[in-house]
């Protein structure tokens, strides 16, 4: 647990939107903004936040599907954006991704067998016979029957497709899996199956897991540490029980209060829990991005961007007044 697996230093990703036309000027969109994060070998990091907060972009950056605009990402100590293409290609075996949409993440024109074999063929792991045997083996590990392998994705259920997605991700025996909302599109009973499978695979293979989700109860269940993102920035990073005991950042507190839970205390009839709209990411507020929605905002929040700073043991927060707010709440 003590070895750093992935380290992000000042990572940012800026898109330019609205350009392309002859007359419109492109405006910068800071999808990910100065993110510093280290992920330890074998740990499960939960990444939560609402749509547009940058959690998907961050996972694509970690997967090296995109290049960061600023900063560097060190995977097992190497900045793979600074090495030749072939070195990146070789390194890709080590980190794999699981996607949200079980159907859209599989090529509808390929059978499950070909989907699973593709990774092994790309890296020429063994003879054809060896690859064929390995495909059946990983399929079995992921709870698929041999007859599932000759089916096309549309002939399978969502849960089965997600099992194929997981099998594809572990085919190359990676050390890191980035799971981007892997159970959001599934029914509750299937969700449990896939979460169990992810937990099992992680234990068997000693995987590091980055688990991205908007569903707080799932993240609370699976993650060791949780990072909360808001408009491209990590605003709180804490061990799971510290965070779910009531976060230090007002946004985390709002998220936790808003999450629907099947317990009587969650019945808040008639009272609004959350305030305000998410500001446009094209025109974020100055200083602290959460300021316009924050009940504790003061003048300093307008002026100064709060840095992610130590709050307690292993718990960091990007809020100027976290201590004051905590005192006020008790």
């Amino acid at each position: 647990m003590s070895e750093i697996h992935v380290a992000l230093e000042g990572v940012g990703k800026t898109y330019h939107v609205g350009g392309g036309g002859m007359f419109a000027k492109a405006r910068p969109l800071y999808a990910v903004d100065d993110v510093n994060l280290t992920v330890m070998r074998g740990e499960t990091l939960g990444l939560v936040g609402e749509s547009g907060c940058g959690k998907s972009t961050l996972s694509r950056l970690i997967m090296h599907l995109e290049r960061p605009s600023t900063g560097r990402i060190a995977f097992e100590g190497t900045d793979l954006n600074a090495v030749p293409a072939n070195a990146l290609h070789a390194a890709r075996q080590k980190f794999q991704m699981v996607f949200q949409d079980p159907y859209a993440s599989l090529n509808a024109r390929m059978t499950a067998r070909r989907i699973l074999a593709e990774a092994l063929i790309n890296y020429r792991v063994g003879s054809r016979a060896a690859i064929a045997a390995r495909v059946e083996e990983i399929a079995a590990v992921c709870g698929l029957q041999p007859y599932h392998l000759d089916k096309y994705p549309h002939e399978l259920s969502g849960g089965q497709c997600q099992r194929i997605g997981l099998a594809r991700a572990i085919a190359l025996e990676p050390t890191l899996i980035v799971a981007d909302e892997p159970v959001s599109a599934l029914d509750v009973s299937i969700q449990a199956q896939i979460i169990n499978l992810i937990l099992d695979l992680q234990r068997q293979m000693g995987l590091t897991l980055i688990f991205v989700s908007h569903d707080l109860s799932v993240v609370a269940h699976i993650a060791d540490r949780v990072a909360v993102m808001y408009l491209g920035r990590i605003i709180e990073l804490a061990p799971v029980f510290d965070l779910f005991a009531g976060g230090a950042h007002p946004y985390t507190q709002m998220l936790l209060a808003a999450a629907p839970r099947p317990v009587p205390s969650a019945r808040r009839r008639g009272q609004a829990v959350a305030a305000g709209e998410l500001p446009s990411p094209l025109d974020p507020p100055s200083g602290c991005h959460f300021r316009p929605r924050c009940p504790f905002a003061r003048e300093r929040c307008t002026r100064e961007r709060p840095a992610l700073r130590p709050y307690r043991d292993g718990h960091t927060v990007a809020c100027h007044f976290a201590e004051d707010i905590a005192a006020e709440r008790t």
Partner: protein
């Protein structure tokens, strides 16, 4: 369960299996394809089905239908039925050659435009410029620049058709590139040509085929227009457009000479268009069952 199943099958085998499944599921498409095959057969077997279309017999001009000349004769005494049957060859070979050439060239350019950032923008501007010229006009201009012959006609019609295909392919490629299965393929180390052949092309195939049928239909009409205007093909080669041009002078007394090639042309274009329509319905993921083509 054998190793053959695991090895990446060639694209062609895959496509054939896919096509068979598809035809079984969509009857109207199969019927239209059968009709087109029938017309193609007529064109191929023309020498067996009809007498010499070029035989001139001035004594036998403008005769009504008879046992010898099923649809009568034209102003040079040539057999109208024979010219109609042989004309199928011209129309179909132009239509299908243009469709094939447009698809091939259009897909290549479209893929480039969809993947290259800067180069793509340049290609699209050239594309836009070409699309601002009416296709038939451009074809006429091109055909009159070239020597006479079927190849020249095909080239002249293909060039104005390409930009449309490029536009369709590029839009599709841009859409497919955003799909999670592409990100998944990149993650497992698929890159370059295999990425395009395995993941991009198969998933753009449906709309491209539909566009190809539209190209085919418009090429058949364009070839008739060229022949009607006497550009490109020599008057000796029997073609429906040429027949209509010849019939113009006798239109008052012998409107049937105009009617036969006109009907044949309309029928073929209609069949190809219906095929395109049904194909696009069948391939629309919102209408068809998920996943089949």
């Amino acid at each position: 369960m054998s190793e053959i199943a695991v090895a990446p099958r060639p694209l062609l085998v895959d496509l054939l299996a896919l096509a068979l499944r598809f035809l079984r599921a969509h009857r109207e498409v199969s019927v239209m394809l059968a009709l087109i095959a029938l017309m193609a057969l007529v064109g191929i077997l023309a020498p067996l089905l009809a007498p010499d279309p070029a035989a001139i017999n001035p004594a036998n001009r403008l005769k009504p239908p008879s046992a010898e000349h099923w649809l009568g004769t034209d102003h040079l005494g040539r057999d109208v039925y024979a010219r109609l049957v042989f004309g199928t060859r011209t129309s179909m070979s132009v239509g299908f050659s243009v469709a094939a050439a447009t698809t091939l060239i259009g897909v290549v350019i479209g893929l480039y435009a969809g993947f290259a950032r800067r180069g793509g923008a340049i290609v699209m501007r050239i594309n836009d410029a070409m699309m601002s010229i009416p296709a038939v006009l451009l074809a006429i201009a091109l055909a009159s620049l070239m020597s006479q012959g079927l190849t020249a006609v095909i080239v002249a019609i293909t060039i104005p058709e390409i930009p449309r295909m490029v536009r369709v392919v590029r839009a599709l490629v841009l859409g497919v590139r955003q799909q999670p299965y592409i990100a998944a393929a990149v993650s497992i180390g698929t890159r370059g040509v295999p990425l395009v052949m395995r993941h991009v092309i198969p998933n753009t195939l449906g709309p491209v085929l539909v566009q190809a049928t539209y190209a085919c239909a418009s090429a058949i009409i364009a070839s008739a227009v060229l022949a009607f205007l006497g550009v490109g093909t020599s008057p000796d080669v029997p073609s429906w457009g040429g027949m209509m041009a010849d019939a113009r002078r006798q239109f008052r007394l012998h409107p049937d000479l105009m009617l036969y090639p006109g009907l044949a042309l309309s029928a073929l274009v209609l069949i190809v268009n219906i095929l395109g329509d049904r194909l696009s319905d069948a391939m629309d993921p919102r209408k068809a069952r998920r996943g089949i083509l």
